[in-house]
C-alpha cells in the first residue's frame, strides 16, 4: 500500500533537517511565534480592537441589566465559538505538534498563540502539583485603557472571552479542561491571571494515525 521508497526519502530528509525536540524547544518556539507575527500576519490597530470589544461588553452589560455573572458566561460562550474555529487557523499557520506536557503547552500558548493573535507573550507557570497552568498577562489588548465602573468591579471578568477561546480551541485538539480568571488588574488586583485546570487528554478522540 504505502510506498516504501517515498517513506525512506522523507525520513532521510528529516534526518538532515534540524530535529525538533523538547529540551531545546525554548528558542525555536519564540522564534516561530515572532516570525509568524512579524512576517506572515496581517495586522490592525490594537485600539480599534479594544474599543470594538468594549462596545460589545457595554451592550451585554446593558442587555443583561448589569447582571455581570451572566455577562461573564456570555463572553465565555462567545469565545468558545471563536476558539472552535480559530484553532484551525493556528494549526495551519504553525503546524505545531501536540503538546504532551504542561510546560510545552504553556510555552506554545504564550510564545506562539498569544503572540500571533494578540501580540502579547504572557508569563506562564505550573502550579498545584503540576496540574494547573497559570498564564499571567502583562498587557491585555482587550482591556487597554479600560476602567470598570464600580458596580462591575466585583463580578465582571471583563476579558472572559479569552477563557472561552482557550477552552474552545483546546477542546478541538482533544484536551478537555476548565479555564477561568483568577485575578484581573481591572478589578484592582496586582496581576491578571488565567488558570487552565482539570486538564484531561481525551485519548479516545485523538485522531488515529497520530500516535
Amino acid at each position: 500500500m504505502s510506498n516504501p521508497t517515498a517513506a525512506a526519502a522523507v525520513s532521510s530528509a528529516s534526518a538532515s533537517s534540524a530535529s525538533f525536540n523538547i529540551p531545546q524547544i525554548n528558542k525555536p518556539l519564540k522564534a516561530l511565534g515572532d516570525d509568524i507575527w512579524t512576517n506572515k500576519t496581517a495586522k490592525i490597530n490594537a485600539e480599534l480592537f479594544t474599543l470594538t470589544y468594549g462596545s460589545i461588553v457595554a451592550q451585554l452589560c446593558h442587555d443583561y441589566k448589569r447582571d455581570f455573572k451572566r455577562v461573564n458566561e456570555k463572553l465565555f460562550q462567545m469565545g468558545y465559538n471563536i476558539g472552535n474555529r480559530i484553532i484551525e487557523d493556528f494549526l495551519a499557520r504553525t503546524a505545531l505538534p501536540r503538546c504532551y506536557t504542561l510546560e510545552t503547552m504553556g510555552e506554545v500558548l504564550s510564545k506562539v498563540a498569544f503572540k500571533i493573535f494578540l501580540n502579547i507573550t504572557p508569563k506562564y507557570k505550573i502550579s498545584n502539583n503540576n496540574n494547573d497552568l497559570i498564564l499571567t498577562l502583562g498587557e491585555n489588548p482587550l482591556s487597554d485603557f479600560v476602567e470598570l465602573p464600580s458596580d462591575a468591579m466585583k463580578d465582571l471578568w471583563y476579558s472572559n472571552i479569552l477563557c472561552g477561546v482557550l477552552k474552545g480551541a483546546l477542546e478541538m485538539v482533544q484536551l478537555d479542561c476548565q479555564v477561568e480568571f483568577l485575578s484581573d488588574m481591572l478589578r484592582g488586583d496586582s496581576s491578571t491571571e488565567i488558570r487552565i485546570f482539570s486538564l484531561k487528554l481525551l485519548k479516545d478522540e485523538i485522531p488515529a494515525g497520530e500516535d
Partner: protein
C-alpha cells in the same frame, strides 16, 4: 484604497484644511507623512482576532434576543448553541425581533463609531479640520458645508480603519443626503450563505441572503451614526442611515436633516 473615489462631489480638497498656498500644501503633506508614521508606530493585533470578534457580534445579538423571550432557567438551549445556528435562526424570527437585534448591533456599531472618532482626532489626523468640525459652542453647525468634510472623513479614515478600505464612491444631493457606495464591503466579503441548506428553505436565495446579511450591514450603519453624533451637533434620532444592496455593492444612505 485609491484616491479617485469621490467623483461626484466637490473636489477632494474640501475635506482637507484649506490648502491655498504652496506653503500650506507642503505643511499639510508633511503632517500627513507624520501621521502615517505615527499610525505605523501604534500597537497592533492580528486581523483575524478582529474578524472573529466582528463575526461573533451578530450571533451574540441574536442569542440575546432569543434569550429575552425565555425564562432564564430555560435558556440553556441558546447557551450552548453554535454561532452559525443562531445566525440561520435570524430568518425565522419575527420582524420586531429582527429589528430589536438590529438595534442591538446598531448600538455596538454606534459605540465603535463614537469612540473611533475621538481616537482619530486624538491621533492628530490632518484630514480632520478641527475648526469646521468642532466649533460646537452650542450653536448648530450642521449645514452642508461642515457636514461634507465629516462624511469624507467617514469615507476615508473611518472606513479605512474599521473596514480596511475606503468607501468607493460618495455622492450627495446637497440637501443632507449622502450615498456611500462600498463595492466590496469587508464584513461580508468572504461570507457564503449556503444555498439550499437545511436552514434556508426559501426558494429566493438572493432575498434570503440579503435578510441574513443585514445584521452585518447594520454594524456599519451604527458606526456612521456614532461618528456623526460625535462630530456634529445634532440630535442622533433625527439622522437616518439605511442601506441596500445595489448591483455593484452595498449602498449606505445617510440623511442628516437641516435644523
Amino acid at each position: 484604497m485609491s484616491n479617485n473615489t469621490h467623483p461626484q462631489t466637490a473636489n477632494r480638497s474640501s475635506a482637507l484644511p484649506t490648502v491655498n498656498t504652496q506653503q500650506q500644501r507642503l505643511q499639510y503633506e508633511q503632517q500627513l507623512r507624520q501621521y502615517e508614521i505615527y499610525k505605523k508606530s501604534l500597537p497592533t493585533v492580528n486581523t483575524i482576532s478582529y474578524e472573529y470578534l466582528m463575526n461573533e457580534m451578530v450571533p451574540l445579538a441574536i442569542s440575546l434576543e432569543i434569550e429575552e423571550g425565555q425564562d432564564i432557567n430555560t435558556s440553556h438551549s441558546t447557551k450552548m448553541a453554535q454561532s452559525h445556528q443562531l445566525i440561520y435562526q435570524y430568518c425565522k424570527l419575527t420582524l420586531p425581533q429582527q429589528q430589536s437585534i438590529l438595534n442591538r448591533i446598531h448600538q455596538i456599531g454606534f459605540g465603535i463609531g463614537s469612540r473611533i472618532s475621538e481616537m482619530l482626532i486624538f491621533h492628530n489626523n490632518p484630514n480632520l479640520n478641527f475648526k469646521s468640525l468642532l466649533s460646537s459652542d452650542g450653536r448648530n453647525n450642521n449645514n452642508g458645508a461642515e457636514l461634507l468634510p465629516v462624511m469624507k472623513f467617514i469615507c476615508k479614515d473611518v472606513w479605512k480603519l474599521v473596514f480596511g478600505k475606503q468607501v468607493d464612491n460618495l455622492k450627495t444631493n446637497h440637501r443632507g443626503t449622502f450615498y456611500l457606495l462600498d463595492k466590496n464591503y469587508c464584513l461580508i466579503r468572504n461570507f457564503v450563505v449556503e444555498k439550499n441548506s437545511k436552514f434556508v428553505e426559501d426558494s429566493d436565495d438572493n432575498l434570503e441572503r440579503h435578510v441574513i446579511l443585514k445584521p452585518y450591514l447594520e454594524i456599519a450603519a451604527g458606526v456612521i451614526k456614532g461618528v456623526l453624533s460625535n462630530l456634529i451637533n445634532i440630535d442622533t434620532e433625527a439622522m437616518t442611515c439605511v442601506y441596500e444592496f445595489v448591483d455593484n455593492g452595498v449602498s449606505f444612505n445617510v440623511h442628516v436633516p437641516k435644523s
